[in-house]
Amino acid sequence: MQADPAAAIEETKHMSSSTTAGRADDSDSELDARIENVVERTILRNIPGLSLHVSESDLDVGPTPKELVYSNETARLYHYEPLLDEIYRVPILLVMSPVAKGYILDLAEGQSLVEYLLLQGHDVYMLEWAAPRREQSELGLDDYVIDLVGGCIEAVVDDCGENEVTLVGYCMGGMLSAMYTALNPEGPVKNLVCFTTPVNGDGMELYKKWMSSPAFDIERLVKELGNIPGDFVNSSIQALRPLQRSANQMRLLNHAQDDAFVKAHLRFDRWAVDQLPVPGRLAIALARDFIVENKIVNNKLELRGELADFSKITVPFLHVAALHDHIVPAAASKDFIDLVGSEDKQEIVMKGGHVSLVAGGNAVFRLWPQLDSWLGARAL
């Protein structure tokens, strides 16, 4: 209770002004804290990026020791050093897509399908593709399947001394592996595994529309360019999900303080844009024979006069597809299992996308153990 109203007003004024001053102090310190916070976060966000740009060795990919065994045109066959003293009898030949680099299967220690298979006792070879030179633009689908995949299989047989091989193809590498197996049903392929492999050209909807357009002339494009550049291939893949890369960059910013996340992201990102050029004649075959005329599903694909009939594939067959694959959607791969003539055949559809299927967290804990289990029982 105030005895003197004027004094009370004065006191109120004083209180009010001291409160205002207090608020101003609070506001200043709050502003300081916010600025400090922003600066701290900016530095934290930049450090991983800077350190990664300064030190490229942090992003080294393909860490598992390997030796070049065979080389012919664009084919490079590597053998990975076994990690155990006792291995399965039948070696594995990983066949990469002609547009993608093989290090996605050997991304980093602990994030490598190759390393995992070696640790489970498999003998692992990989067929990777080198960028075609200009004079190699005449390499076609028949050369890739019969001479290059075939040559590598022979080299594996010679090198390991076994007369049987398990083929594991990724994306279009699966397509090449299946074509080789269809053309050579008598061997030496013992088992066939295909990851996210397209077989139905009608299922590649966007590419089908583009390539069926009368305004698009693949032969003219090849005549002009020779080989289809990697950037062109990359842009075509990006078009299937145009904003994904931007979303990934946003995700990277949100996890900029997490060094492990940043490194993993940059490794994936580097691979995603690291596409190989495609030899002109191979590009024509893929565009015309596979996508526009859909010759695999229609059973009309001939390589050097011989029909690549998938129903002639009778070896044990495993197809692994990704539920959220936008590059090879279900419509492009779901017919594979029915086309193959094997009695022992299985399809696994897993959560994930085209890349995370073979190299993401889900792959490490779910797919790889299933793959090892399937292969182990058939590698004796």
Partner: protein, 129 residues
């Protein structure tokens, strides 16, 4: 700091973008699948190639006068480097087979230096399907 981050408008915007990206991408892809877009893109690719060639030809002469390598020169060099890499690869393969041959020959004379290769006798564990 985590509370501050959850209220960061830029972060919220980024999270919204990440969540809604697929819908936007699907809409754009659908648009690109339109017949008119496909025709337009086909024409654009060929026109771009044509103008690229015309420009490249005229620039090639200009760059040669300035003693600067053109894109064609760089591609020639890249091809030559690739040829050298191919040759090195062949030498590497040959060296590997010669080394294996020598090891086998040495193993024939000295039993203790037999080439060590893992035994191919592994069996799957009991729980494997």
């Amino acid at each position: 700091m985590s509370n501050d981050e959850s209220m960061d408008p830029m972060r919220l915007w980024r999270e919204w973008f990440v969540k809604s990206e697929k819908s936007w991408s699907d809409a754009l892809t659908e648009m690109m699948g339109d017949e008119r877009f496909s025709d337009g893109m086909g024409r654009y690719v060929h026109e771009a190639l044509h103008s690229h060639r015309m420009f490249g030809e005229s620039m090639g002469q200009y760059l040669a006068n300035l003693n600067i390598p053109s894109r064609g020169d760089i591609l020639d060099m890249s091809d030559r480097l690739a040829q050298i890499e191919d040759t090195l690869g062949s030498i590497q393969v040959e060296l590997r087979s010669q080394r294996a041959l020598l090891t086998t020959l040495a193993a024939g004379t000295k039993s203790e230096s037999k080439p060590k290769r893992p035994a191919r006798t592994r069996k799957p564990q009991a729980d494997a399907s």
